[in-house]
Subunit: 245 residues, 2 copies
Amino acid sequence: MENPNTKEAYDIIQEGFDKKAMIIILSKCHVEYEGRARSVLESGDRLILIKKDGTFAIHQELNLDPVNWQAPGCKNKVSSTDEGILLTSKKIKPNEEIKVFLDEIYNITYYNCVDTKDLEIRGYEKHMVDLAWEKPDIIEKGFRPTRREYQTENGFIDLMGTDANETLMILEFKSRKAGMNAVKQLKRYVDCFKDNKDFVRGIIVAPDITVNALEELESLQMEFIPMEAPLNLIKEDISTLDSFF
Amino acid sequence: MENPNTKEAYDIIQEGFDKKAMIIILSKCHVEYEGRARSVLESGDRLILIKKDGTFAIHQELNLDPVNWQAPGCKNKVSSTDEGILLTSKKIKPNEEIKVFLDEIYNITYYNCVDTKDLEIRGYEKHMVDLAWEKPDIIEKGFRPTRREYQTENGFIDLMGTDANETLMILEFKSRKAGMNAVKQLKRYVDCFKDNKDFVRGIIVAPDITVNALEELESLQMEFIPMEAPLNLIKEDISTLDSFF
DNA sequence: CCATTAATGTCGATG
DNA sequence: CATCGACGTTAATGG
């Protein structure tokens, strides 16, 4: 609905709530937020997006993130005041509230979405592990991979195997420059095998590694093996895509 | 526009791009993403939000975050194919692309937002101000706070007061290391009192301050008072925030 | 521009 | 419900 008056706006927004629809409001508005932080946003044109799970987001004309928002599970309400339409979004634990004062309403739309599909993500790490699995020499001569995605109490180990001396190897793959967090992660995996009397090799496989991370890695007697992420392969290798699509 | 056909949809979207408007599309669509990772989203009803800075977001009916997105600075295009309308959003460094195939279009809106206001966050600083308000000696012996959140043409002054000599003090609080921007901000506030014949003390209160900022601050005859931010209090003691509403 | 760190992070999994 | 860890984290800040 275009340029509704206050009553029309109230009715259609309430209707949207009742029908558990996605509500989209284009409006000049000002906003107050109070909760984990506290903020004020003076009047300007924004997009307000309300979802049936309670999600509430206010978008300015720039930037990816909403300027103000509420997480799923919030109680949203519309009310008609002397000043016009007021939207409130409340959450408990932690106690948070957004108040949006609609100073001028340009457009209100609601739609009941039918959407049963979930996003399917395939990271690049998987492709790197694929490669190492199929051509172990890429990692090092004599490497024999044995397990993928081995579950430990500290997470999934990307790839395990043994070297030419039958020493256990634990490999953590990163598609981008590995940082300190990768080292910590690998250390946690290696720690799972501490009780073994035998030494375990911890290895980060990534296109690059930060200086700090490399120092820390070496001080922990662990290793870094450079390997390019096959970013470009994906578009070229249609066959692998087929298995995915 | 409601339920546009392919040509109408193409035209209105192109128009939105040309006018650098915010474009909102309600549509059944399927999405492919390829970049740092790779993903596929099969057909379903979603909201597509495109901003003039290149921001591109696809929202499902649930959750706060978009299911697929592109950051500001992306090149967005609309094209008409045999299959219908195709939206593409490209970014370089890192190379990323989203393709959205509009299978059925319910609604297209674009609007040229007028929005000059920035969000003012006053969360953590408030707790520091609370503390200084209740225990002025923390700032300095003889300090008497008089006003909080005093509004000037240049924004809100966190805290004002007088010292033992009745000299006006303007305090700017930062919850983290103060930088040059904090100094500039404080200077703007102090400038509001330039016409006073009396000297005004400008003071930054923060856990720390950068070297550059401290130099600049002292050259402006302003001061720095170290104070730890009560970050931990915030999550525990939400009740103190009640005073705001 | 790179590296580091905070965020009203969000979100999913798990105990 | 709370905690923990990953994320195409993003976004801001200092160097």
